[in-house]
Structure formats: structure tokens, C-alpha cells
Symmetry: C2
Subunit: 576 residues, 2 copies
């Protein structure tokens, strides 16, 4: 029987609850957002006693469906003040799903000034005091816990940044290689830190496993689905070969690679940090060009990067990170970027927020554009130890902008704008403006259609069709984020006719139900509306669905494009 | 002929313009808010090229009317994101009024990385480059400018905090003794700093002066008005004797003196920082217990405080400052508080925002409650020089709360809550919640009726009548702030029947018009509605008209009172 695990950190009690009927058909983002909207007062302090931190595996997580092992984390975000869902790979989602844990809800704040850990097993969840690992980085936590509890233990953990309640803090998830994946965006690590939980372990010994209502139907659909993933040129070829960093040269060519804190659209040093260079370097040094962030992934985009001596530096080395520390900070040294990624994993900060923050910090004169050594020092010695400067930087791009009076601060709803310039890739600008999460490329990845010609083509430099494109993708993504699927299944789903029906067939076979395509679309719409209603109750209006002023007034080379959507055109997004 | 002076900092041009008909009947806050609402896009970056900084003397400023010499400064606030009006005494308002300057509007941002100064005279306004005084404190600026331009020069200036664009930065105004009064709240010093204007000088040689349409009628009304001010026990006796700091013992007695970052309602050391102690200390050391912030003030509440050696330390030494650094930071050493006030004047930060900030910083562990020496060091060496810690502190209470993850942060719309606990003085809580300016006691000073029995009595511990009280006072205050009058004229205006008609008679006699009491009330309502409309367009909703969560959940001694207004009750405020 599926269940809800609930932890009250105020009185340190735990409960196992049946799944309410209204939540039975939900998973992943649909479930975390529904729970947060139902149980968290929208105007509460995100680090206060009334916020809740919710983890939920997706509807298909724990089944043999390819790429279905993502875990959603949700709460009111201390960075944006909006509702937040951030999903990650790693081993935790599948373990929770096999244990029948539909959601883990953590509420309240401890009264004592002590640190704790949570332990999930087939018997439920327990709270323990923790002192040994407080102050430690995420790699040390994982190493120590594997020694303490065994190699197979699932782990969610926060680094020093989360302990210090920095709003760029993320939550780390152990991956199949005992390395790190992240619930990156929105400062959820600070919420976990506010509840004084250093880590959560998962032991799935004796787990009942996931029951599939119609195994034969499931098997057929799963095969069709997997084939579509492998057949599509992006998910079957581009991503497995070059990782997500395949995008550096593509975006540079398109003039949409934000450079030098969003003052240029192309980076001179793009070749040195490109996916092609990354691939060759990884191969030459004996790293892994293909690597999955969770068991069952057949795209294998998360590469393992080694240093010159062939030693592990980082994995899950994403385009957005490399773009941010690279082009946006004018750093063309992949080794330094990889080392920075390692440190960000260890101290536990979102690599997008932090990379964009460094671009703003460079503009503020805290360090110079291109100074990768000082960037590494700031990460390790300032953010990692919580000095005053570290706290400003650890608050993300908007925090630095405020402290230093910078006006060119690429954020929406206080969250950093990632790797695609909205002036020259206009669809993604609509997503940044309207996403319920603050600026977030994953919530409606128009790059697919604007740049990669997936799902048709909508000219990135023109306004026509962008609102509709972003709307359709945000609705679809909200649904996909609820299945536990990796967002990259969207590529075949947009192009290969059998893919989406196979995905729906898997859900139907899993639960013995009969959802239609329209039902899935309705779920996506419902998720967006639930999230938006929370934001409205938190005080957000259409005036917050806007890009920063400088995108309107500063044309970006090479297209000399500006952000030219009127407010009314943006607001069309919510007409559904 | 009255005129508008307009300065464009982008191309460094200036213009003298006729007063548009729609602005002719406006002054002070009514005029700054009308101009900001008309000319500043509500969603602009407050430190960006589209914000404007507006100065306007009141309708009666420059006339012989008692207490009419206040200057309004307006802009979009970088602290709150709302519209902002902050008014101050000093000599500038009357000089501008005598020059016929209805408003000085400063727009744009310089292209070059240079600093400038503005110079207002009978011939208009000019822009000059400035280098000598950049980085200097306000006292040094005033001294140097008096040496450079003559003792009579009017001066508006920003300190290092304004240059660094800190959101607690204020704008200083030279007072009749070449000391400092402040446009304190809302970070307007950062707006002036963003426009790279270090100071503005005013030379009123050859000024036409203020013409009064009906001098005889004016004289009679002015006499009645002045008599009312002198006859009222608060403006005629309490304030002249003890200054505003008369309130320490009164609020302590009422249990409404926020102590130790708003965790208590009474301060053990209240006697040591009280108005009575302050008065005796000033007298014993040869300071001035009575002192006016501008020529023509007959209340004389702004005392001059000397050190043990009889040397000047500070003036305009207000209750809210002494409360904040005293009770709220648990410091009972008046000399240290006075020294801190001197430093705040010199570096140019709002003494309310900064004092409340220190309470939050003490809770965050940056320094200990009661540690006045470290407070002085932080002011001078960190805020004053713009270290990273100084930038966090110079961002005000909310900035510290965010950087250190503190949840007990007494702010509304990001601006610090002053010296009256809203749980035990409930009327002022309605003002804090609903003010268009963020938390601001001066925008609807219910303390008059809740605590001082002026204008009747509304029990501070009960909810009944508070919304109406705050509404009436906020409407009246918006009108009074437009006349150039000191807010303390409200005491006699509420109790002495002849006072308000005399004030209106003075306006009518000055302009040869015939406003009624209703017209003045309508002006107040119009000002509030204009300001609110700006805020709505900036993205503010009723969800922002709320006090921080902890006021609802943490009862405050000695009454164990909580903030118990429902959202609907608060929102009644805007029904007019």
C-alpha cells in the first residue's frame, strides 16, 4: 500500500498516513505542488515554522520505464517567494517508490538548537540527532554515511550552504556512483537547513516494490517508449555523445549564448568550453562520456569529467553550468569550470544561480571577468564558510545585485535566468517571464522548437507563436514532471508519434486506469493553475511576469535583438 | 513665477519649465507623489535610468507660517519597491520656495563614471563635475561647501552609504546650525547615488520670495495657528521640554516599547535612555534642550546633545533612534547611542532602518545584544567603508534577515518597523500594514490617540476603531505632508478646534483660493490613491499589506498581546 510519511520537526514525531483519495492519481511535481498549495500558507516565511518540505517520486518511478527515476522536491521557495518544484535524478526516487512512499512531508522547526537526520525504511521514518557530519561537505557526508550504513543507502543531503540557509543552497541526491545530483533551483537546501535536517537516508531492504496492474501492456509500451528515446537524434545521439553541453556551439551560432553578464550573445572562447571539446577531453583522460543520473536512464547525458591525472572531478556537468561559469563569466578554462562544479556540489549550491551570480559579481567589481582562480577561492573560502561576502554571493544573483547596487541583474522573481538569451531566443523569454517558479528553462523548454527544430520550428527572433509554444510546453512539462520522467523525453514526444501514447499507456498499465492524452494535458494545466494560485495568494501579480528592464533597452549582438513583448502579449500566456 | 527645475543626468542638461496647471495646487508630498506616479514607470529598477528623484517644498513653505519648512523628497524606493515620500527639516525647503522652485526633478543616469553636483540659484540649476568631496562624510561635505560657497548655502548631500547605493542610505539636509536633518526612509540616498550626485547646493540670493495673496488674512490665521501649537500640551510643552524622546517612558509604561528585536514590550534600562534623563544630561553638559530643525519652528523638539566635555555630538536626536539602538538592541548607554547617531548622520543612513537592522543583526549573532562598542565599529568601519558585511548591514533589517536566514525580521514591504509594537499598540499596526510607504509611523501616527489621548482615545490593546483611526490619520497626514508642515501640528489640529481652520485659511490666503476642510481631506485621499495606484502597477497587492508572521504567533509581554487582525479587517482600510 502506498503511504505518506510525515515528519513534525517541532515535536520530533513521525507518522505514516494513508494516501488521501485526492492525491492517489498524483506523483512528482503534481503531488508536491498540490501538497504545498494545500498545507503551506502562501504568505508564510519560507524559512519559518509554517513552510513544509515535500519529496515525491513520480507516477512511473520505480517501474522499469526508461528514464523514470526523478524525484520532485517542493516547498515555498526562500529565493523566489513562489511555490517551488525542483526535480533531480539519483537513487532516492526509485528507493522511495519501491518502499511505497508516495510523499515524504517535513513540517515544523525544531525548538532546540540541534541538528537532526531522517531515516526512511520499510517501517516508516525516524528522526535522529546528528552531530558528527554537521558542517561537512556533501561528498564527505555520502562517504561517511556509506561507511556507517552501507553502500546501498539512498541519501539526500545539504552542504554548508544549506546549513547556513543561503538562498542558493540546493539539496543533493546520491547518484548510482555515490556522486551527486541536485534539486538545484529555488533554495530548497535552505528550507531543509531551516528544519535542521542535515541528511535523509533511505534503506529499501524489504521494500514491497512497485506493482504494475497490467504487466504485459506495460512491457509493450515501455519498449515502444524506449525505442523512441533511442531513435530521436537529440535523445538518442546528441545528448549521449556530447552531453547537454552540446548546446554551447549551437547557442553561440544562434547568437543566444549570454556572455559577459548578458551583454553579448556570443563568446569568443566558445570552442574551448564546447561539448565537442568536453567530449574529447573526457575520452582522452579516461572519464565517461556516457553516464546515467539514475538506473534505467538510456539517454546517458551526464558525463564524468576527469582531471589531467585521470582523477574524478565532476559529473552531471551540465551545459547551463558550463555556459554560466564559462561564457557568462568569460572563463574559457574547462578544468577550472569543472573544479568549480565539484565545489558547488560539495558545498551545496545551485550551479545555475551561482554561475549567473558570478557574472553579476564580476560586473559589480567583486572579481574580474575571466578570473577563474578568484572564483574558485570565493566558492571555497567565502561561500563555503559563510563569511559576510560568502553570504551575499550565496544569496544568488539578485542578492549580489542588491548589495552592490547593480542594475543589470538577469533574474525573474529573484531567480537567475539560465543559458539562453531571451532577446534572441524569444520563446524561452516567455517561459522565464511566466513560469510559476521564477526564471527556469526546464519549465517550458522552447529551445527545442526555437533552436533544435524539434516539434516543428518557431523562429527564435520573431514574436509570432512564442506564447503558444511556451504555453504548450509548460503544460506538457508540468505533466511530464509528475511522471518521474526526465525532461528530455520531450524531444521524442514532440517528434515521434508513438512516443507520447506509449508514455500514457505505461501510466495506464501501471495503475490499471485509462487516461487519454487530454487527461494528461488537463493534469498539466491543473498543476500550473494550482501553482499560480499559490503565487497569487503569496502576493504575485502579472507585474512579476516580466523580464528585467535591461532586456528591453539593451540590444544584444549579433542580432541587436531586444525583448519586445508588450505586457499584454505576455499575459496572453495564462489564457487556458 | 513658480517653476519646475528639471535635470537630465544622462546628457547633463537642465531646463526651467513652467508649472503645469495640474500641479499648481500641489506641494510637498502631493507634488512629489504626483510627479513620480506620472513620470516613473512603476516596474522600473529603482537605481536605473528610469527612476526620478524629486524634491518639493510644501504649499506653505517659505511663508511665515509656523513649522512650515519641510522639504519632501520622492522617488521609487530601492528599499521597498513602492513609491516613496520622505520629508525633512533643514534650510533647503524655504530657500527653494523663496526661489519659486515648486519642484526639482532629477532624471536619467550619467554615461561616464564620474561624480557630479547640482547648483540651484535664481537663474535655475546647473550641473558640475565633482571630485574633491567624493567619499567624504556629510559633516565634511557641509564644512567644505560652506568654505567654498559661503555659510548661507543650502545643502542636500549623501554620505558614503548613498554613494555605495545602500538601500538604507538617506539624503542629508543642512540645518540652521550647519548640522544635519535627514530624508531618512526608503533609501532615497541610494537613488541620488545612482544618479552620481554627491550634493546639491542652493543659493537664494536675489530670490523673489513667496508672495502671499491676502497678507492680512494670512497674518490672522498664522497667529491663531501658532497659538494652537503653543497651547497644546504635547506640541507646546512635552516636545519642547523633552524632545520626541519623551516617549521612551510612556511607551515602556504602555508595554509597547519593542525590546530585544521585538521579543519584549518593556526595556529594563528604559530610565537610562529616557527623555527625562536625556533632558537632564543635555542641560548639565550645556547642550540645547530646545532646538528647531528649521527657521520658524516653534515646537523646538530637536535637541542638541553634547558629550562629557561639552562638545557637540548630535542633534535631531529622535525617540525612534534612541528606542532602536537602545531598547531594541538592549543598549542603555546614551553617550554611545548619541555617538552612533552622529556616525549615521555622517555616513548617511536612516537611523530607524539601521537601528532595527542592528536588532536583527544581534539576533543573527553578528554582534551581541547590548554591545554598543561593536555597533559603533560596524557603523564606522563596515557600513561606512562598504565592506561586504557593511553592505549587508547597509541594506537594512530585511537584508540582514535574508543574508543570515533570520525569521524574526520586523519589516513591512521590506522597510523596518519603528518604535511602537503593533501587538500592543494596534492602531499603528494598521498604519504599518497599509501605508503606501512600507512600515512608517509618520504616515498615520495613531500613537496620538492610542497612547497620548490626543483626538480622543482608542484603546491600544483592542481592535475596535483602529482601522478607522489609522485611515483618518493617514488621509490627514497625506494632506499635512503636502503643506510643508511638520507632522506634529497634528496634535493641536486634533484637539484644538481653531487649529485646522487656521491652517486651511493660511493656504487660502497664500494662494487667493477658498479650500474647505473637505477639499483638504479630498487632497489627502487623492494622494493616498495616487500612491497606491503606483504600488499596484509595481506589483503590490493586499498580500503585501500584512505584518510579519511572528507578530501573529509570538505574544509580547507584558500584555501577552498578539497581532490578531484578520486579512479582511486590514483590507477594510482602503474602503474610502
Amino acid at each position: 500500500m502506498d503511504k505518506i510519511l510525515r515528519v513534525n520537526m517541532t515535536d520530533l514525531t513521525t507518522r505514516t498516513e494513508p494516501v488521501p483519495a485526492a492525491w492517489a492519481g498524483l506523483g512528482g511535481r503534481a503531488l508536491t505542488s498540490t501538497i504545498v498549495a494545500a498545507e503551506v500558507p502562501a504568505t508564510c516565511h519560507a524559512l519559518g515554522e509554517n513552510n513544509k518540505l515535500v519529496f515525491a517520486p513520480g507516477l512511473l518511478t520505480g517501474t522499469p520505464a526508461a528514464n523514470s527515476g526523478r524525484l520532485s522536491a517542493g516547498a515555498k521557495s526562500p529565493l523566489t517567494g513562489t511555490i517551488k518544484e525542483s526535480n533531480a535524478g539519483g537513487t532516492a526516487a526509485q528507493m522511495l517508490a519501491r518502499l511505497g512512499v508516495k510523499a515524504l512531508i517535513i513540517e515544523g522547526l525544531p525548538k532546540a538548537d540541534k541538528w537532526y537526520s531522517l531515516h526512511v525504511s520499510k517501517d516508516g521514518v525516524t528522526v535522529q540527532e546528528e552531530s558528527e557530519l554537521i558542517g561537512k561537505g556533501n561528498f564527505a557526508v555520502i562517504e561517511a554515511l556509506e561507511a556507517r550504513l552501507g553502500k546501498k543507502t539512498g541519501i539526500l543531503t545539504i552542504g554548508p550552504a544549506g546549513e547556513l540557509k543561503m538562498t542558493a543552497a540546493n539539496i543533493s541526491v546520491k547518484d548510482p556512483d555515490s556522486k551527486i545530483r541536485s534539486h538545484g533551483r529555488g533554495g530548497l537546501g535552505a528550507v531543509m537547513g531551516s528544519k535542521k535536517i542535515k541528511f535523509i537516508t533511505i534503506n529499501d531492504e524489504g521494500a514491497p516494490g512497485v506493482k504494475i496492474a497490467d504487466p504485459e501492456k506495460f512491457k509493450v509500451a515501455a519498449r515502444t517508449f524506449a525505442k523512441a528515446l533511442l531513435d530521436h537524434p537529440v535523445s538518442g545521439e546528441g545528448l549521449p555523445t556530447y552531453g547537454t553541453n552540446v548546446l554551447v556551439n549551437i547557442l553561440n551560432e544562434a547568437g543566444g549564448l549570454p556572455t559577459k553578464n548578458f551583454t553579448l550573445g556570443q563568446f569568443e572562447g566558445h570552442d574551448k568550453i564546447s561539448g565537442e571539446t568536453l567530449h574529447d577531453t573526457i575520452v582522452a583522460r579516461g572519464g565517461k562520456p556516457k553516464h546515467g543520473c539514475h538506473a534505467g536512464c538510456i539517454i546517458q547525458c551526464s558525463q564524468v569529467y576527469h582531471d589531467k591525472d585521470g582523477k574524478y572531478v565532476t559529473s552531471g556537468f551540465e551545459y547551463e553550468t558550463i555556459w554560466g561559469l564559462g561564457a557568462d563569466c568569460c572563463i574559457d578554462n574547462l578544468d577550472d569550470i569543472a573544479l568549480a562544479d565539484n565545489i558547488m556540489d560539495d558545498i551545496g549550491v545551485d550551479s545555475i544561480e551561482t554561475a549567473v551570480m558570478f557574472g553579476v559579481a564580476m560586473e559589480a567589481g567583486i572579481l574580474s571577468f575571466g578570473d577563474s582562480k578568484e572564483m574558485l577561492r570565493l566558492l571555497r573560502d567565502e561561500i563555503g564558510t559563510g563569511t559576510p561576502l560568502g553570504r551575499i554571493l550565496g544569496g544568488g544573483a539578485a542578492s549580489v545585485g542588491k548589495a552592490y547596487g547593480v542594475t543589470r541583474v538577469p533574474v525573474v522573481k529573484n531567480q537567475a535566468i539560465p543559458a539562453y538569451d531571451p532577446r534572441s531566443v524569444k520563446g524561452i523569454g516567455i517561459t522565464y517571464a511566466t513560469s510559476t517558479m521564477g526564471a527556469d528553462h526546464t519549465s517550458g523548454y522552447t529551445i527545442a522548437t526555437n533552436i533544435l527544430n524539434v516539434g516543428g520550428f518557431v523562429d527564435p527572433l520573431k514574436k509570432d507563436g512564442q506564447v503558444e509554444l511556451s504555453r504548450n510546453l509548460q503544460i506538457a512539462t508540468a505533466a511530464v514532471d509528475s511522471t518521474g520522467m526526465c525532461i528530455f523525453v520531450a524531444f521524442p514526444a514532440l517528434d515521434i508519434p508513438e512516443c507520447l501514447p506509449a508514455l500514457i499507456d505505461m501510466i495506464n498499465a501501471r495503475f490499471g486506469i485509462s487516461l487519454t492524452g487530454d487527461d494528461v494535458t488537463d493534469l498539466g494545466k491543473q498543476v500550473l493553475k494550482t501553482e499560480r494560485q499559490f503565487n497569487i495568494e503569496a502576493g504575485f501579480t502579472k507585474e512579476h511576469d516580466r523580464l528585467p528592464e535591461f532586456f528591453k533597452t539593451e540590444p544584444v549582438a549579433p542580432h541587436n535583438a531586444v525583448w519586445d513583448f508588450s505586457d499584454e502579449e505576455i499575459d496572453e500566456f495564462w489564457n487556458f
